[in-house]
């Protein structure tokens, strides 16, 4: 019987946070599943699937010392399902252009209407303070085909956003 929880931890970034969190979990007998850690701005962020018999309150006790020492914010949710449910993306969408409000909203709304289920999304503001650019990368499953996504996003080109939709061909060998 597994007891999966989704842990979300954020805080000011510094070296060693992942090591401290995962060591505390390991020493308490917890097991990690899929995890994703990324630095957003100056912030450390991680989401991790943790299989823990202790349950939510037990997990909180396990992590309290680390959370206090590293001044993190911890959020825990019990989740359904476990491992081996990962869909294989068949489309990659790259978007970039001068930064302005609404790019992600427009791209993802149009793509969702064309059948896209996002598996992985990342965006960045780059360039300079005076002339910022926005870079968005999405991997997903295009249920209605890659061409449908391409057609749905094409009109955005006219608004000065560069959109590149590529099929992702996964080679199984």
């Amino acid at each position: 019987m597994s007891n999966w929880h989704m842990l979300t931890l954020i805080g000011k970034d510094r070296p060693g946070i992942v090591a401290s969190i995962t060591t505390a979990l390991f020493e308490a007998g917890c097991n990690l599943g899929e995890t994703s850690m990324i630095r957003l701005g100056n912030n450390f962020t991680v989401m991790m699937m943790v299989d823990a018999v202790q349950g939510e309150s037990g997990l909180r006790k396990v992590l309290d010392p680390v959370v206090a020492e590293l001044q993190l914010v911890l959020h825990i949710d019990a989740i359904e399902g476990g491992l081996h449910h990962r869909p294989v993306p068949n489309v990659c969408i790259l978007v970039h252009g001068a930064d302005r409000a609404g790019i992600v909203s427009q791209v993802t709304t149009r793509a969702a209407d064309a059948g896209l289920n996002i598996v992985d999304l990342e965006s960045d503001v780059a360039g300079t303070g005076a002339s910022p650019i926005y870079v968005l990368q999405i991997h997903g499953v295009a249920a209605q085909g890659v061409e449908a996504i391409e057609a749905a996003l094409a009109p955005l080109q006219a608004e000065g956003v560069r959109v590149d939709v590529q099929s992702v061909d996964t080679l199984i060998g």
Partner: protein, 166 residues
Amino acid sequence: MAVLEILTYPDERLRQVSDPVEQFDATFQRRVDDLEETRLAGPGAVGIAAPQVGWFQRVVIVDVSGRKKTRNHGHLILVNPEITEWDGYAVGREGCLSVPDYTGNVIRAEKIHLSALDREGNALSFDMDGFEARAVQHEMDHIDGLLFLDRLVSRRQDLFQRKVYK
């Protein structure tokens, strides 16, 4: 003909370097047939290498002819294959019969020149590119004891490594 068991990671036997084929006898022919039948029994594999079924000789099968818009040389049984030239590189997503439930990005040469023997021992030579070249490189790794896991690149940092095909 028989569908053989596929060795899966972390089975140490997948790390073995395979030996060249020297005999093209009836036993060899039967093993090639079994290897192909095993490939076809799997979930959509465009290739298979002998070590994946515990046969440690330098034999790979590649067939990308069933894919849309993919340049190819048809169904290939490649014995003692050697890549003699490489050109360019591209990031692509790979999975493997020997690594269930995982896919990841791998950098491969975009174009290769390949020499090999066919199943009768006759010399073959190909210039290939794109998906077919990727499949051959993936399968040839197996006969040197390598898996695509050994070549994974970041799924997040590939924006400027991608090659755009238009």
